[in-house]
Amino acid sequence: MKVMNMVQAINDALDIKMGEDNSIVVYGEDVGVEGGVFRVTENLQKKYGEARCFDTPLAESAIMGTAVGMCAAGLRPVIEIQFCGFMYPAMNQLISHATRLHNRTRGRYKVPMVIRLPYGGGINALELHSESMEAVYGHIPGLKVVIPSTPYDAKGLLISAIESDDLILFMEPKRIYRAIKQEVPEEKFSIPLGKAKVLSEGTDVTVVAFGAMIREVQKAMVMAKQAGISVELIDLRSVYPIDKETIAKSVKKTGRVITVAEGPVSFGIGAEITALVNEHSFLSLEAPPKRVQGFDVIVPLPKGEHHYMISPEKIFYEIERTVNY
């Protein structure tokens, strides 16, 4: 075991898979010589050569569109879109082609592509560098959306994503890229996609979260414990497909559910989880499902961002209100 942060864990997963499979190419803006603006692809060009890890001209639609062609021609591209806010020029290629090629050709052409996308706020960044648009992506048929919350999960989930014959959007919570360190096996291992993980068992309320919000919920849980509230924490790990069974099982036990997610609240992940809980665990509910999410606003620039970001106190406040409903 080696202590790794998420950047190192993702780099390790890429390194292992590139070493195993020549059809994997890694590309995007600044991923080659520089090793990525977050250094996630560091040394990969040195180790595997410029044909396998390279910098492209600056054009996201082309990064996505050429990857569609590469998939048809038998490669397995892992592309990086440098920041969540730079994804939008590539949306046409994503929605019109990448998510459709397999269905359009009745399976003749597969799309074994991984799109790596650093996302999320709390890092005092420029405009369009702090959004959490996972709900938008979860809504696109043909896409799978994976979000790790720890270095261990990042490595195991990314290996599964690269090995999958489906198109995977791998959203990386950049706020905790280097904030969490843990022991991660150096050898290859994988974590199945579409399965949530119960991080802490509890009896009073289920909190569903993912990505950088897991750490915030865990801080809130310390306060909850002092208040005598037992929280069950579920890390979603996959926004689509969503693990309905794990959520239903937990809510049947606790009778209460809170979703914590950075994205805007309306039509978001919390809305989806609320609907699922209503459909599958309605008679177990002792309080209305609660959504602790971002406002329906544009993420403020750094001086105002603290108003937007979800704090552990806010999470604890809603936990207490839900339990006392």
Partner: protein, 362 residues
Amino acid sequence: MFEKYDPAENKIFRIIDNEGVIINKEEKAGLSPEKIVESYKQMLFARTADFMAVSYQRQGRMFTFPPNYGQEAISQALALVWRKDDWFVPAFRELGAWLAKGASMKDVFMYFMGYEEGTVFRNAENMMPISVPIGSQLLHAAGIGYAVNYKKEDKVVFTVVGDGGTSTGDFHEALNFAAVWNAPVVFVIQNNQFAISVPLKKQTKSINLAIKSKAYGIPGILVDGNDLFAMYLAVKNSADYARCGNGPVLIEALTYRKGAHTTSDDPTKYRTKDEEEHWDKTDPLIRLKKYIEKNKLWDTSEEEKLIEEYKKEIDRQFTEAENQPPYPLEDVFKYMYAEMPDELKQQMAEHQKFLNWKEARK
């Protein structure tokens, strides 16, 4: 050739005139009489099929169809040049090229009747499906070109776009990426003068579209796209250039969409009779036929009999396409992912329950 016909000088590469007379003796297409006659027959088949498709649509037996009438020489030039394992990345208006790459009229009819199966083109080696969003397919060609280089394969990627498509960002990005990557891609602009109703002069201030190649540091050539010989030579030289590792080429093929944009469009709203008559004189089939007659390559009086044979064959394939079993519910879900997620299995099962309920009520 690329230096000789510099798009910056707005020179049009042409070999025969509208009367089928060779006017450019410096360039020789070098096609055998058999190839020329065979090409004419292929173009005639595509045109006959095109007319019939429009007629089936008018009869309400098929949905929207984009006719290829008037642009047959461009498809045929590609067909004469590409090898079986070369790639073709189509848009949606190059019927002859699809057929030449291995698609059947049954495939085409099925697609425009509303079956995804029709665009799988199972018998066409290395052909991408029909692409509807304008210009977007060019990036797939650049990506395939990268893969060809990466795998050190001896293949060329052919792709087409309309004149309207040259205004998209993807056109620029695809040419730029292919050029930077030295990808073996032959980009062919089918400049048929209109993007639905919008004429070329409202798409660009450039003197022509081939000149855009200069910005990417690649060769470009402006060709009479209704002149099979010129088109063939331009595509052949471009493919040879790309295959030798020199990178991409941009061809602008001047043509005219004699039909409507699609069967839902009425071109009388935006085109004049004079203009149509002017372009009628350049018709690629009429010109080639005149050449064939002048040079006595084939007795064209056989043409009508041939068209009747083609019609029979096309109608046979249409009937096959029309007599498909009902579209199964499973096919709606089955191909969304390599392996169907539980979520989709549940959605399908729930809907099946409803269908069973509905059936029981009858």
